[in-house]
Symmetry: C2
Subunit: 260 residues, 2 copies
């Protein structure tokens, strides 16, 4: 029952651990302890199937879980690889600014409102360092937390990258992770601007608030590791969502409240 390569043959679990869990734990340990190094290719699914003497579907279940944990990524036609840790920790901080306030850890879902090509506006062109009217891809998404819309995110990308995103499951996946892992684009610095505004008609509709409600607007320009501007975004957060963070801050440290 047990998998000899993975567990001491003498240790036979009393309540049998599922095969895919054994494989998952085995691979995770190897990755975390460094036996499999970042960016290293893992054996193919077929090879693991032979090594562990299980069917490919069982191997895939283990790999899918590890992918969800962020430890590995897969490229169709190429193979399965160990993900790099902390590659964009600094970006995570930025994402964290939005996430830390809003993401409570449950029920994250991004509704893709539109995904189209259009000529770059002056602002977008300036951000991405392109000529005005160069075709760019615009993606509008509404982030839902616990089934309530919490932010509208409008993303502008160079058209070649934007088109490749059409094959990606955007409702579930994180664009940064796709750029890094699926597309192999290393990310670097990001610039932020933050201000407040009132909800217009579209924002009110998308975020299920009344027109004129308070909105926190963030402008974010993310660069590749080599410094080329890649991802220009407008993020609109529901103002009332901010209360969570304030409550948290009050309890956590001596951060001051902020009228809200």
């Amino acid at each position: 029952m047990g998998i000899s390569l993975m567990t001491d043959p003498l240790i036979i679990p009393l309540s049998p651990v599922p095969l895919y869990t054994q494989i998952k734990d085995f691979l995770r340990q190897r990755i975390l302890e460094g036996s499999y190094r970042p960016h290293q290719q893992l054996p193919s699914e077929s090879e693991m199937s032979a090594i562990f003497k299980v069917s490919r579907i069982t191997v895939r279940q283990a790999l899918s879980d590890l992918q969800n944990e962020g430890l590995i990524f897969r490229i169709p036609g190429k193979g399965t690889f160990v993900a790099k840790p902390k590659v964009f920790q600094h970006l995570a901080q930025l994402e964290g600014f939005a996430e830390a306030m809003l993401r409570m850890g449950y029920e994250i879902y991004n509704k893709v409102v539109s995904h189209k090509s259009m000529p770059a506006s002056p602002a977008v062109a300036h951000g991405l360092k392109l000529e005005v009217d160069t075709p760019v891809t615009e993606i509008k998404r509404v982030r839902h937390l616990n089934r309530e819309p919490l932010s509208l995110e409008i993303t502008y990308l160079p058209e070649d990258v934007g088109e490749r995103l059409r094959n990606i499951d955007l409702p579930t996946r994180d664009i940064f992770l796709v750029l890094e892992n699926d597309f192999g684009i290393a990310l670097g610095r990001a610039d932020l601007q933050i201000d407040a505004m009132l909800a217009d008609e579209e924002l009110a509709r998308q975020l299920s608030v009344e027109a004129g409600s308070a909105i926190l607007r963030m402008e974010r320009l993310t660069h590749t590791a080599s410094g080329k501007p890649l991802d220009f975004e407008y993020l609109y957060f529901r103002g009332d969502a901010f209360q969570y963070r304030l409550q948290i801050s009050r309890q956590g440290a001596d951060a001051p409240g902020r009228a809200g």
Copy 2:
């Protein structure tokens, strides 16, 4: 190719959308719009298999994704159900205190250090409102973020609940979600206490810091919705991990820095 019950037959996607994605999107929309109500039982996997005219494995892939998104939960032998939204949003705020600072959204993994039964210490007994020496379950976990240990979490639960957790995949799953969804225990208020301390030998070893490093300690007592104390925890965070949050706060609002 398309699934007639789900999409307008006139709309034929140019690049064919996988069947499981179609099913996933269909169910998600029904859940989000409220056609399927919280706690409502979905058709069984076999029924969906017949309804959508796909194999059960395809249905399961869709359901697994929805489970990861937190929209549904499954009980072996009973069925698949719509999860309740926002049930412990107030808890999420507390979780958010830890998560918001530490969770950057990538590579979360909990290493289970130990999981055993033991007599309740006076502090634990007082928290859980039990007699001293009543058997309770103690679970020690080290939370890893981006492959670095960031917090040691020691959880005390009544023994009956703690034993049921042995069948749960704790490295991947969230205890609160398990209590709510798998065990059907509605959660309510939680009480917090926070202070600072220095790392002792065990903490230093578990968190990969030097003994004497700064540690933020949190004591959390979570109650059921009916007010019965259920989950008593000690959370030890690496002090240096706090810088992230401070940086975030600085950018976001006028929260003061904190010497780190």
